[in-house]
Amino acid sequence: MRAGREAIVVPVIFLTVLLLGGLRIADTAVLVPPSPYVLLLAVLLVRVVVQSGALAPELLLASDRSELANLNGVVLLATLWLASAQALAVLIPESGVPRLAFSVFFLILLLNTAAASPDRHRLLRSLAVTFGAAFVVKFVVLHGLSAPGDGAVKRALLALVDGVTAGALVQEVPRPITAYIALLAVALFLLGVFLLPHRERSPYRELSDGSNAIVRAR
């Protein structure tokens, strides 16, 4: 059961995130690979996932495991990294000030999360809330503002950002299906992180004197 999850289910989920997350459907369908910047952000995200115990690398790579099992572990780690990059890329707007703002926001958020050192449950909740909020801002707010026409939603949103030059926020609006695909990609990514081989508690807990101690898993 564990071997199937580790060798098949989770890597396939992450590769699907890589595929779906890159899809941009406008007049033509384009697959956009993750940029070098989000690949770097993904390294931070993987670090946070390991730090929280949501991924226990010692359960994937160890000297007492067979070579094949270790190879499965390497593949899973690689797919986690690529899927993390693509999940972040799908949530970052395509251009302009929002792209810059989201890029900086995710960097600060991941650094902050690493500093806060949450456990697995808190990290999963935090990722769900952060990714959900970013999804709403990009696909509902920004695309609502950028869509042609002058509907009630657009007027309300423009009233909310009164004083901000709307031109700085306007994005190229893809077909509506892109948002559904992005939502599926983000949901699959969170499911994949949830299914990773994990420990219940991070083995490292900072003591009051600043030193690290290993806390026994319950």
Partner: protein, 182 residues
């Protein structure tokens, strides 16, 4: 007691073999899936026909629709270039056949050719098509032995299309009205 131990031992061996099979199967599956995704990113197919055609080409079983190709060549030789391209696209829906792409480029050339001026838009489309054709040809060498054509290689056609798109002094040469379409 002995039989119980033997059963347990056999069960452990079975489980170990099952796990190894699962891991090997998973590795193969994931590598294949990753290769497919890499191929999709590299090729950027736009239609389902391009995806299936591309995959069948990878395994070497892609074939053009011969009937559609025959129809297309008939239209092409009657100077019905728009109809010819529709039929060529039907013959090679996955855009995997260098010869068909060569004819598509040639149809743009012939349709865009004029004694006084050439149609830049059609020539640009032709240039895209000949680039595709040469990219698909093994080693980039594309030769079409069709006696009805004046140009038989990708290089000749590409050179002619590029010359047509260039704006230079020869465009003002009055003798060009006596030039012939190739």
């Amino acid at each position: 007691m002995k039989s119980t131990l033997e059963r347990r031992s056999c069960g452990t061996i079975d489980n170990g073999m099952k796990e190894t099979s699962t891991r090997a199967l998973g590795l193969g599956l994931v590598v294949t899936y990753a290769a497919l995704i890499g191929w999709l990113y590299a090729r950027q197919p736009q239609t389902l026909a391009q995806i299936t055609g591309g995959l069948t080409d990878v395994v070497g079983v892609y074939q053009v629709d011969e009937q559609a190709l025959a129809d297309a060549l008939r239209f092409f030789r009657n100077d019905q270039f728009v109809e010819a391209r529709i039929a060529f696209e039907r013959a090679d829906p996955a855009v995997r056949d260098a010869r068909v792409q060569f004819y598509i480029a040639y149809s743009y050339y012939r349709q865009g050719w004029g004694r006084v001026y050439h149609d830049d838009r059609l020539y640009a489309e032709g240039l895209d098509a000949i680039d595709r054709a040469m990219a698909l040809a093994p080693g980039g060498r594309l030769v079409v032995d069709d006696p009805a054509l004046a140009m038989h290689t990708g290089e000749e056609l590409k050179g002619e299309l590029e010359a047509g798109l260039r704006f230079d002094a020869s465009d003002f040469n009055p003798m060009r009205v006596f030039g012939a379409r190739k």
